[in-house]
């Protein structure tokens, strides 16, 4: 009887231990699951933050690029306007009245021919080009007589295999003075600014 009772107690203990172990395992499994869920949440948050940052940076750089493009375009516009202003004010090409007062929008045709000859003469070409490069940099300056006949004089051309160019045209008159036999013709200055 006593022996049987001892066996019963031993079985009960085993059963309890078994239950305890089972509970422990189930609790451990629950904990592992919770940790896995938490880890998953953390990774998700990190991924979301990274995605937000990447999207933010992408947007910001796109807007920034658009800003840069716009400011480059504006500066190119200003550059061509400045070139046109410089070309139309060169004292060595303008016509002057007897009192040395420059005539408005008037260019002396023979001064243009002289400049053209100087810019193409191998002896004077380099010095003249270097000097006018300080004014016109990467551009082409063409004086075109339209009436009575079409004549082009390109006094300066520094084509840098440009991708695009912007052009300004200024209507002018050309004075062809041969003393008493002088006359005026009409045309324009074409100022093209090259940009890469």
């Amino acid at each position: 009887m006593n022996y049987l009772w001892t066996i019963e107690i031993s079985r009960t203990r085993d059963a309890h231990r078994y239950i305890d172990e089972k509970n422990e395992i189930s609790h451990m499994m629950k904990l592992t699951k919770r940790s896995q869920i938490q880890l998953g949440e953390s990774i998700t948050i990190i991924i979301i933050v990274i995605i937000l940052l990447v999207v933010g940076i992408a947007f910001w750089s796109k807007f920034n690029q658009a800003d840069i493009k716009q400011s480059i375009a504006e500066s190119q516009d200003r550059y061509v306007i400045q070139l046109a202003k410089t070309a139309s004010e060169l004292p060595e090409l303008r016509c002057y009245s007897a009192q040395d007062v420059p005539k408005v929008n008037c260019f002396d045709w023979y001064k243009l021919l002289a400049l053209n000859q100087t810019m193409h003469d191998p002896l004077t070409k380099k010095e003249a080009f270097d000097y006018y490069n300080g004014y016109f940099e990467n551009s082409r300056i063409t004086f075109e007589q339209l009436y009575p006949e079409d004549i082009n004089i390109t006094v300066y051309d520094n084509n840098i295999s440009a991708q695009r160019s912007q052009m300004i045209v200024i209507p002018v008159v050309f004075e062809k003075s041969l003393g008493r036999r002088g006359f005026m013709t009409f045309g324009w200055i074409m100022v093209e600014g090259y940009t890469r």
Binding site: I46, T86, K111, A114, Y131, G134, L178, R181, G182
Partner: protein, 342 residues
Amino acid sequence: MIRKNKKGIIEIQFNWIFVLIAGFIIFLFIISIINSQKKQSDQTLNIDIMSLITTEIKNKQQIFNSYNEIHTTSVYDLQFSCDKDTKQAGIYIKGTEGNIELPTEVLFTTTKLSTNNIIIWTSDFSTPFTVTRFMFITSPGTAFLIYNDSANQYAKQIYYDLPANITKIYVNSFAPDISSSSILKQTKAFKNYHIICFDDDCPANKYNYLRITPSPDNGLYSYGDLAYHRAGVPTDALSKYVTKSSLFGAIFSDSRDFYECEVARAYDQMNLKGSLHLTRMKLLTDNPDIDPDCVTYFAGPQAILSDMKSLSIKDVSTLYADTNELSMDNRNLEDKGCPQIY
């Protein structure tokens, strides 16, 4: 239970450490973005200012005999340079990267200018054809003290020919030592001052000044000698000026080297433009439609233009004579119904 608590504590600590590290990284990232943006915007602002100032300077060169002011929001330190060997001039603004070249602009100024209000005055340099437009750059903080001369003529002429908005003080009573006069009080209000004097009517040796000795026969605005005197140092070699604009160039410059470098650049332009006028005259001479009488009148001016090519800064009297002769020939050609020289 103890094991469970331990695990919980470790988990909570790990979370906090994770939050701290992640937060710190995000904080660093944001700070670095702000810093790079600030740096970029500062650089953009400086580039904008530099481009504004140089564009304004270049634009002002197009306007004949003009007075202009460029206002900036804060004070900028401008440094002007002119290399006498390469004849390259440029402008540098402290805080910006690089030096902007001014290849065609001829400007006279103090080599260092610290201001938020740049004054630009232009005047043509003509010999007698327009060579270039000289630019005189100063600031309201710079005063020009013009000492009266014993002949009582040159100082007044310069005083009245300087634009009204430029700070100028006419020193009527001759005082070699300005420390004993009321002028010192006036000059203290300015960051710097230029003393202009004539012949022997200059202040004591302890001051910096520019002594002008005009040609006695042809007047102040013809040609003459210049001496940049530095305090306590014997006056170095004399420099030269020819025409009014060249004299004002000397007045606005603070050193002989800078003045002579800019004048040398102007002479190079004079040679090129003289050659252009000479080529034009040859083209006119070869033109079959031109009046043969005019061709004979061209011989004299052509010889002068050829002669002008070899002139240097020292040959001011020859340049002055050539300028007058060309100017006269130009008028004569106009009167005779011939094409003008320039």
